[in-house]
């Protein structure tokens, strides 16, 4: 296998990401969003098994016609994210089956933390109505008050938690 290419300059990657976001504003009148696709899929799954249960949840009903949230749009976007990430890694020689972790933690523990962290993010994003993409990036650029509150709180939460997890990462 060839050696992977170096990562792009963060400002260049940021510039490109900003242009993608701007394109979304221009073309679709909306920004990005990832956690919404997860909530929408969860809502859809529950709705298939028990429609009344799904409609009874104030979270899920938003994705089932109640609040006009476009589930198909979000899913198409996430499909794109997966394709784009795959292609980028492919052309940079970075496709690799691995568990990325800190130097002092085993794979199994790392996976347990990844799952637990993912679940807590799922709860947080559901409460906040968005994540890093839909709230922080999109709302940040559109000067939404709630987005800036979310961003500040998310960075604060992460910085407060980081010392506790030092052994897992450093």
């Amino acid at each position: 296998m060839t050696r992977p290419r170096a990562y792009a300059d963060p400002y260049l990657a940021g510039l490109f990401l900003g242009l993608v976001l701007l394109t979304a504003f221009l073309v679709a009148g909306r920004g990005l969003g990832i956690s919404g696709a997860f909530a929408g899929s969860a809502a859809g799954t529950v709705s298939m098994l028990s429609p009344s249960r799904a409609q009874g949840s104030a979270l899920f009903s938003r994705y089932l016609g109640g609040d006009g949230l476009d589930r198909a749009w979000l899913l198409a976007e996430v499909a794109g994210v997966i394709i784009g990430g795959f292609l980028s890694a492919f052309f940079a020689g970075r496709l690799r089956a691995a568990v990325e972790r800190g130097p002092h933690i085993g794979s199994r523990r790392r996976l347990v933390l990844a799952f637990a962290g993912g679940a807590v993010m799922g709860l947080g994003a559901a409460l906040a109505r968005g994540c890093t993409s839909g709230l922080a990036l999109t709302g940040g650029a559109l000067l939404s008050v709630g987005s800036w509150v979310f961003m500040g709180a998310a960075f604060a939460g992460a910085y407060l938690m980081a010392p506790v997890l030092r052994r897992a990462w450093r």
């Binding site: 940021g14 920004g31 529950v46 990462w169």
Partner: protein, 193 residues
Amino acid sequence: MSAPLPVFDAGSARVLELAAALAIGVGFGWALERAGLASAPKLVGQFYGTDLTVFKVMFTAILVALLGSFWLARLDVLDLARVSVPDTFLLPQLAGGLLFGIGFVVAGLCPGTSCVAAATGRGDGLVAVAGMFCGVLLTGLLFAPLARFYESTGHAAWTLPEALHLPYGVVVGLVVAAGLAGLCAAEWIEGRA
């Protein structure tokens, strides 16, 4: 003609709309992977002061989209009133943000970057995706006690210019200045590490 494109308002050309969503996603995923944000150990460097790529990519993107949308609106190319601004719910977003940040550093990835990590073969990314799905599924199923809090302190599409009673352009200038100062600070912090 003023953007966002009217064809999407009409509800016609649904296929085109979803194709646009897919293309925008491809660009998003590409940007995250190129920056190295599919690698959790690199990403968490942000919170140990050694690698501030997360902040740099995020704030560069925000400044570009902020300035771009502001100037395109001034030039009558973009109608900002028709771009949907995320709704504000102060306390849920404060609490949700704190939880999200904690989960972020535990998982080492956020929702978008875990999708990209999974797409590039990383098992930790795939497991974080599964965790997120389970988290949101459980939250939705057990939502009743949270429902009141979820709807509290709502302000709909509330923007900083409205909250601060300042013209839009002035707030854009302030955010750009603060963002540039933040990026300089990020370079300084990395330089010390």
